[in-house]
């Protein structure tokens, strides 16, 4: 986090981050459209986005795809990893390209990750492969119902 700690966001950065979370137009020159809305110029918008990405303030910029609407499989999985094996097991889990996010959490179940696959039935095989490689049982917690998913955070 040291890179992001070091970066100070000015009010223009904050307006830009907020505006870019409301959606990005699908037009020939979308950065120019965003720039006009914020009273900036196109080059400055592009340069600021590049800087925010380089500094890690933005983790991504582009389309956010929904794995399930694409016909894919998705689950939230958890492991109770013995502390002395934590880094080793994190390496095993992270090596799977189907693991999209992985977070350490302060609980007996201390490793939580999202598995996204091209086909729903592949989730099971990824879980089995992680269990085989780690020697630990994986808790599989697929979504049953989505009540709310927010897509923006005020900068």
């Amino acid at each position: 986090m040291s890179d992001t700690d070091a970066m100070t966001l000015d009010p223009v950065d904050r307006h830009l981050i907020n505006a870019l979370q409301d959606g990005f137009p699908i037009v020939e020159r979308p950065f120019a459209a965003v720039a006009a809305q914020l009273d900036l110029d196109e080059d400055e918008v592009v340069a600021r986005i590049r800087r925010l990405l380089d500094a890690g303030v933005l983790s991504r910029f582009g389309p956010l795809y929904d794995a399930e609407r694409m016909g894919g499989g998705l689950t939230l999985a958890a492991l109770a990893v013995p502390p002395e094996r934590f880094d080793e097991v994190a390496g095993i889990v992270n090596a799977f390209p189907e693991v999209a996010h992985n977070y350490a959490r302060d609980h007996a179940l201390n490793m939580w990750f999202v598995i996204a696959t091209e086909r729903p039935q592949q989730v099971r095989s990824v879980i089995e492969a992680i269990e085989a490689a780690s020697g630990l049982p994986v808790l599989d917690l697929p979504k049953i119902e989505e009540y709310f998913l927010g897509l923006r955070l005020d900068a």
Partner: protein
């Protein structure tokens, strides 16, 4: 940073009609899932890379977005960098007969960023409602969790908050480029949801 969460736009209903994704869509998804080029004409840059017509690229992205395959095009900020240093996954054990009503009420709170029902896995995991809460520090998250507890009242049989202590990986979704499983011949064999 006044109110941490602002409500997102309405989501397409999961019950919406099946989405047909052809081989060209898959190439487009594979080419853009890690991000758009920072080019004044980003869709033209993508089209050039894929050997497609830029207007076809824009029409396809528009269609994928309307169908909910693209939830949104835009920026995904790093919570920590915006000052939301405490990230609490609050989890609740709610009776099955009450879960949908509880989920809708919690999901409607302006500080809850995700709210899902998931299965219990007893005895290790008794919780069936997940609500993600962000704050500048743990005290702010605790305060918000207390508000959820007050809202749910006697429906709560147990709850916990799991704070993230480290991001171990965050690459976002990745699908492979079209493979033999997805014929690349002119959009045949569409997959549907």
């Amino acid at each position: 940073m006044s109110a941490p969460m602002t409500r997102a736009n309405a989501q397409p209903s999961p019950e919406a009609s099946p989405v047909v994704i052809d081989a060209i869509d898959r190439r487009l998804i594979a080419a853009t899932q890690s991000g758009l080029p920072l080019d004044a004409r980003p869709y033209h840059a993508v089209a050039r890379r894929l050997g497609l017509d830029p207007h076809d690229v824009m029409a396809r992205l528009t269609r994928l977005q309307a169908a909910g395959v693209i939830r949104r095009i835009g920026a995904v900020p790093n919570h920590y960098a915006l000052g939301y240093r405490a990230n609490g996954m609050s989890v609740w054990d709610i009776p099955d007969t009450r879960i949908d009503a509880a989920g809708r009420r919690v999901g409607a709170l302006d500080f809850v960023s995700h709210c899902y029902r998931r299965p219990r896995r007893p005895p290790l995991w008794p919780y069936n409602l997940f609500a993600m809460v962000h704050g500048r520090d743990r005290a702010e998250v605790e305060d918000k969790v207390a508000r959820i507890a007050a809202l749910l009242g006697p429906d709560v049989r147990a709850h916990a908050v799991l704070y993230s202590t480290r991001i171990l990986k965050k690459t976002g979704l990745r699908i492979a480029a079209p493979s033999p499983a997805y014929p690349s011949s002119q959009g045949s064999e569409p997959c549907s949801v």
